[in-house]
């Protein structure tokens, strides 16, 4: 799947203390307070991912994310290091989002301008090239519209690949589908 889509800049979960996610998981099992570090690492990226999955309101995103972290905490011992923690938590988030849509009987609407706040800042910035900002918003809307016309399974893969910068293996682990299906 080769698409000429600009990859949005990612806020990759960065640890200040260089402690791996896997170590934090082990530490959290013995000390609940360590879970804060995992929450703070993944709060923003997952919030943005939920937006891209089509969860429109901030309240809904917060509710879903809260459930995600509760589930992560409850099931920490299920985490297997054959999988990256990042893929595991994204999978839980994706499943929670799908449960949310099923309960609401709503169809997810793809939204890619998750960096809206940074664009607003750019517009406020007098030195910034506002026409470039407008062009970016426009292209984002066009891509959103195009993606909305695809089937859900294609959209899920494209969002993870081009907007969340995930590898094929990671997409396979997040969506729990074989790698061949992701390629196809």
């Amino acid at each position: 799947m080769r698409m000429n889509i600009r990859r949005h800049q990612q806020e990759q979960p960065v640890s200040k203390s260089d402690v791996s996610d896997e170590t934090l998981v082990v530490n959290t099992i013995s000390d609940k307070k360590q879970f804060v570090r995992l929450i703070e690492r993944y709060e923003k990226p997952l919030f943005r991912y939920l937006y891209r999955c089509g969860v429109a309101t901030q309240e809904d995103r917060e509710d879903i994310l809260q459930n995600v972290f509760m589930n992560v905490y409850k099931n920490l011992q299920q985490f297997d290091i054959r999988l990256s923690f990042s893929s595991w938590i994204y999978r839980i988030t994706y499943n929670e989002a799908m449960t949310f849509f099923r309960k609401k009987k709503a169809r997810p609407e793809i939204r890619l301008d998750a960096n809206l706040e940074s664009w607003i800042d750019l517009v406020r910035d007098e030195t910034a090239d506002t026409s470039a900002v407008a062009r970016e918003r426009l292209s984002s809307e066009i891509i959103s519209q195009e993606l909305s016309q695809l089937t859900k399974s294609y959209r899920d893969i494209l969002v993870l690949r081009f907007f969340e910068d995930r590898s094929y293996r990671e997409i396979s682990d997040i969506l729990t589908i074989p790698m061949g299906t992701v390629y196809f």
Partner: protein
């Protein structure tokens, strides 16, 4: 992985993190023990194996029926092949075979890393296992036992092996079921027919 000691105290910086931690405390949420997940995964594999086993037994019974279907008399007892197959194929065993192979696949798919196996590979694997075990069961006579027991104990099931006797019992179609009790080699064929006519 070793435990990492952090020198600085851990304080939730974002309101969201505080909220999540508070909820974990308020609802007394605890980390589930690891054995639950291991047990669940092993049970899934066990159910998958059990489903494949049931499918294999059905395959053994299916082989038994297919081999004893009297293919050579197909167009004597029936006008068309379609009619013969409709009346003879062991649909119950084929149904059980497909159903339990599907159940087996679904269980494998839900194991921890079951999703990583490609669909075609999984289906081929299940088919090979089902056929392999089915042949072993058939060769050991298990297929016949299953078929006969199903005929005897399942009220809705009538084995085609018993049903086919009625197909041969049709004098109007020049079919006559019977057992040869005496064979007289001194009598020629025309004499035998004459005897039948006079009788």
């Amino acid at each position: 992985m070793t435990l990492h000691n952090f020198s600085s105290p851990i304080i939730a910086k974002t309101p969201f993190a505080k909220k999540v931690l508070r909820k974990i405390d308020d609802e007394h949420i605890a980390v589930r023990p690891r054995w639950i997940f291991l047990l669940r995964n092993r049970l899934l594999w066990a159910f998958a194996f059990l489903a494949v086993l049931v499918a294999s037994v059905a395959t053994a019974a299916m082989f038994f029926v297919l081999i004893h279907m009297d293919w050579q008399h197909a167009l004597i007892t029936h006008r068309t092949w379609i009619g013969f197959l409709r009346d003879s194929l062991p649909f119950m065993w084929i149904g059980i075979l497909i159903l339990f192979s599907g159940i087996g696949y679904a269980h494998i798919r839900t194991t921890a890393y079951g999703y990583r196996y490609p669909l075609v590979l999984s289906l081929i694997g299940i088919a090979v296992a089902v056929c392999g075990l089915g042949i072993i069961f058939f060769m050991s006579g298990f297929g016949q036992i299953i078929e006969e027991n199903a005929h005897e104990y399942l009220p809705w099931y009538e084995s085609v092996l018993y049903e086919k006797q009625s197909w041969l019992n049709g004098p109007n179609e020049e079919l006559l079921l019977g057992a040869v009790t005496l064979q007289d080699n001194t009598m020629d064929h025309s004499q035998a027919l004459a005897n039948v006519t006079t009788a």
